[in-house]
């Protein structure tokens, strides 16, 4: 026998269920008076630096139907590529930008929408710059472990072409599943859980 590593196992995930809003966005769920506002509802204020953008989209199941009970969270760098996080060692991020957003999909239409700014570029582990991107995390009834993916910008062709993470995708035909489409002042990013257009999900 050898010594034990004394490691614990991560708590097993369970689905967020159909009522995730009660816990994470109670005001959206019409449970008012407990918290003054839902966390993650606003990422920017009038002093936030950077190009204002709106990101909207749907989370779509294998029968081409948008989920009306999902919760989407995003995490991104500020306009200069810094994260508003204690683990950010390269400098101080814009104090007027949280970097984190949370939005339930609309109970009727299934749409999610974030008012944010376009993120700057962040270095990969080897120092090469990654293309501007936003990390997505999706939970819902029927999703047993939260799904992680990234949204890139279709109009960042040069940066996307040298992005070390996008380069890892073997089936190039699937790369566009991670590219948000420019749509006026905003971007549209639909997430497909299954099928021909299945989004590339990440094991991070």
């Amino acid at each position: 026998m050898a010594q034990s590593l004394n490691r614990l196992k991560e708590s097993a995930s369970q689905t967020a269920g159909p009522y995730v809003h009660i816990g994470c966005t109670p005001n959206f769920a019409e449970i008012t008076g407990v918290y003054s506002e839902d966390l993650g509802a606003s990422m920017v204020n009038d002093k936030t630096k950077g190009e204002r953008i709106t990101i909207s989209g749907h989370v779509i199941d294998g029968a081409d139907t948008p989920l009306k009970d999902a919760l989407v969270e995003i995490w991104q760098a500020d306009a200069s590529g810094l994260y508003n996080s204690p683990a950010e060692m390269r400098g101080s991020a814009d104090p007027n930008f949280t970097g984190w957003g949370r939005c339930p999909t609309d109970m009727t239409t299934g749409e999610f929408r974030f008012e944010t700014i376009k993120p700057g570029r962040v270095p990969f582990k080897d120092g090469r710059l990654m293309a501007p991107h936003i990390t997505f995390w999706i939970v819902a009834r029927g999703i047993n472990l939260g799904l992680s993916t990234r949204m890139y910008f279709e109009d960042e062709e040069a940066a996307n072409a040298e992005d070390p993470v996008l380069a890892r995708i073997e089936h190039r035909v699937r790369v566009p599943t991670l590219l948000a489409k420019k749509d006026g002042n905003g971007y549209t990013f639909d997430i497909h859980l299954q099928g021909e257009k299945e989004t590339v999900f990440f094991d991070i």
Partner: protein, 251 residues
């Protein structure tokens, strides 16, 4: 939320341990019917963490209201309280190295004592409790400790197979130090026979992992003549040390 750290500990910047996807429920679990059309079918793209996964927001204790972790009172009219068996749930948020994780935002939600959620889409015949909202939150202290007070939720039937019942449970969302640590899970109660009949619990392949989600009655933490206590620890992913890693400037 602010950029300030919550403790004197130096922030850690190592990548998180690889997630054991055989320990977690797989995406496709036909006994839980909703998963069938909501489960990705292609292989995941595995990625050693970059800054985008290692970093994460901080939630300061200043966001918390006095009653945020007291579900018996946080929705109740003044002088009234929620109906049901009074319990305390407490424990530590640890990481896979066994270290307490400070500053973790925990959000929890549950049905009332009759098994009814306060939600527009909920249709179970059990009545709402006018004094129970069903949501709460807290942030772990410097040792990773948390506690909350609530009423024990009831089991309830749900549309899956013709006669499926959820065991009594409390949902937990945990926000650790890095976005890759994000986790939602459910807490069950020791001794509940419905645990072993539930298709959602059954999505977890390993019995030991299910037991790890089952809170244990903690008589020593019980308040006599007031509330029983259950102990429930939550484990988040551990992270590597960066001591001997070669890192280029900028990372």
């Amino acid at each position: 939320m602010s950029g300030a750290t919550l403790s004197n500990r130096k922030p850690e910047t190592g990548a998180f341990y690889q997630r054991d996807l055989d320990w977690h429920p797989p995406a496709y679990t036909p006994q839980y019917k909703t998963s069938v059309l909501r489960s990705p079918q292609k292989a995941l793209l595995s990625l050693d963490n970059t800054l985008s996964e290692i970093t994460g927001p901080v939630f300061g204790h200043n966001i918390l209201g006095e009653l945020d972790n007291d579900l018996i009172h946080n929705f109740a009219k003044a002088g009234e309280s929620a109906i049901g068996p009074r319990i305390i749930v407490h424990g530590h948020v640890l990481d896979e190295r066994g270290r307490g994780v400070d500053g973790v935002l925990l959000e929890f939600w549950q049905a009332n004592a009759g098994g009814r959620y306060r939600h527009r889409k909920e249709g179970y015949m059990a009545p709402l409790d006018p004094n129970f909202g069903g949501c709460g939150r807290t942030i772990t202290d410097e040792n990773g400790y948390y506690c909350l007070r609530t009423i024990q939720p009831g089991p309830y039937p749900w549309p899956n197979r013709a006669n499926d019942w959820r065991p009594a449970h409390i949902h937990f969302s945990a926000f650790g130090h890095g976005f890759a640590q994000r986790l939602i899970t459910q807490m069950y109660f020791e001794g509940d026979p419905l645990i072993w009949k539930c298709p959602i619990v059954d999505t977890i392949p390993d019995r030991e992992a299910i037991e790890g989600l089952t809170a244990v009655l903690d008589m020593e933490a019980t308040i006599p003549m007031d509330a029983r206590a259950y102990k429930f620890d939550i484990v988040l992913r551990g992270r590597r040390s960066t001591l001997f890693e070669n890192r280029r400037e900028g990372n």
